[in-house]
C-alpha cells in the first residue's frame, strides 16, 4: 500500500488526483475509468474539507491505495467530525433553482463512479472512505 498525507485544503486536490491517477494507470484502468475515479476522488476530498473539517487547513487528509487483481482500492482518511453520507438520488437541480439549496451532487457522483463505496469511522477518530474501481471487462 502506498500512502501520502496532504493538508486539507482545496489546493491539495491536484496532488491527490495525481497520486491516484498514477496508481490507476499502474492498475491498468482505462482512461474512462481514470476520469470517473478522478470525479469520485475530487468529490470525496471536497466533502472531507467542507464537512469533516468544516473548512480549509483544519487537518490532514491521508490517502492510500492498493492495486488489487481486478482494479484499484483506494482509501481517504481524515481526523475531523464523523459524517456518514448515505447513497443519494441525484439532487433536483430544477428544484434548486427555486429553493437555492445546494448539495448532494458530490455523494451521488461518488456512488455512481465507483464500484464499491464504504464510509466508516476511523479507529482513531475521523472518517475512513474506502472505494474500489474495477477494471472494465471487455465484451
Amino acid at each position: 500500500m502506498k500512502k501520502i498525507s496532504v493538508p486539507g485544503c482545496f489546493s491539495s486536490l491536484e496532488t491527490i488526483r495525481e497520486f491516484f491517477t498514477h496508481a490507476a494507470r499502474q492498475a491498468g484502468l482505462t482512461e474512462n475509468d481514470i476520469f470517473e475515479l478522478q470525479v469520485a476522488v475530487d468529490e470525496a476530498t471536497a466533502n472531507i474539507i467542507d464537512h469533516a473539517y468544516g473548512g480549509e487547513n483544519k487537518g490532514e487528509i491521508d490517502c492510500c491505495y492498493e492495486i488489487i487483481p481486478d482494479g484499484l482500492k483506494i482509501e481517504l482518511r481524515d481526523h475531523g467530525i464523523p459524517f456518514k453520507p448515505k447513497e443519494v438520488k441525484p439532487p433536483e437541480l430544477l428544484n434548486h433553482t427555486l429553493t437555492g439549496k445546494e448539495g448532494g451532487l458530490g455523494v451521488f457522483f461518488i456512488y455512481q463512479m465507483m464500484d464499491d463505496v464504504c464510509f466508516s469511522l476511523n479507529e482513531d477518530g475521523g472518517n475512513l472512505l474506502s472505494m474500489i474501481k474495477r477494471k472494465e471487462i471487455a465484451d
Binding site: 474512462n32 470525479v39 468529490e43 471536497a46 437541480l93 437555492g100 451532487l105 457522483f109
Partner: protein, 111 residues
C-alpha cells in the same frame, strides 16, 4: 482553469479551459458574476477545452443560470461539451436546466 470572455453583439461568449474543481470554481463564479453584474444575461459557455468539472463547478453554473433566467431576461447555454463531461452532467440532470449545443456558432445563433 482559465477563462476568456468575449462580448458579442447579442450575447457574451465565455471560453473555459482546464479543470473546474473546488479550488478553481470560485474563479469561475467571479467571472460569471462580473458578466451578469454588467447586465449581460445571455451567455454562451464554450466548453471545448474544459477538461473536468466537479459538483462545485456545476453549482456555479446552476446559480448563474438562475440569475440569467430571472425575469426571462436571458439564459446560460453550454456548447461543445466533451463527451465524458457531458455524460456526468447528464447523469446529474443538467439537461433539464441547460441547453446544450454541438457548436459554439450554433449556440451564439440561438440568441
Amino acid at each position: 482553469m482559465q477563462t476568456k470572455v468575449i462580448p458579442l453583439k447579442r450575447c457574451v461568449l465565455v471560453e473555459v479551459s482546464g479543470r473546474v474543481d473546488s479550488d478553481t470554481a470560485p474563479q469561475l463564479r467571479e467571472e460569471l458574476n462580473k458578466i451578469t453584474a454588467g447586465d449581460n444575461y445571455k451567455i454562451v459557455m464554450d466548453c471545448n477545452k474544459l477538461e473536468f468539472i466537479s459538483s462545485a463547478g456545476m453549482w456555479v453554473l446552476v446559480n448563474a443560470q438562475k440569475r440569467c433566467k430571472r425575469f426571462n431576461r436571458g439564459e446560460l447555454v453550454l456548447a461543445e461539451v466533451p463527451k465524458r463531461i457531458f455524460d456526468i452532467l447528464d447523469l446529474a440532470g443538467f439537461d433539464e436546466v441547460f441547453k446544450f449545443f454541438e457548436s459554439t456558432a450554433e449556440a451564439v445563433g440561438n440568441f
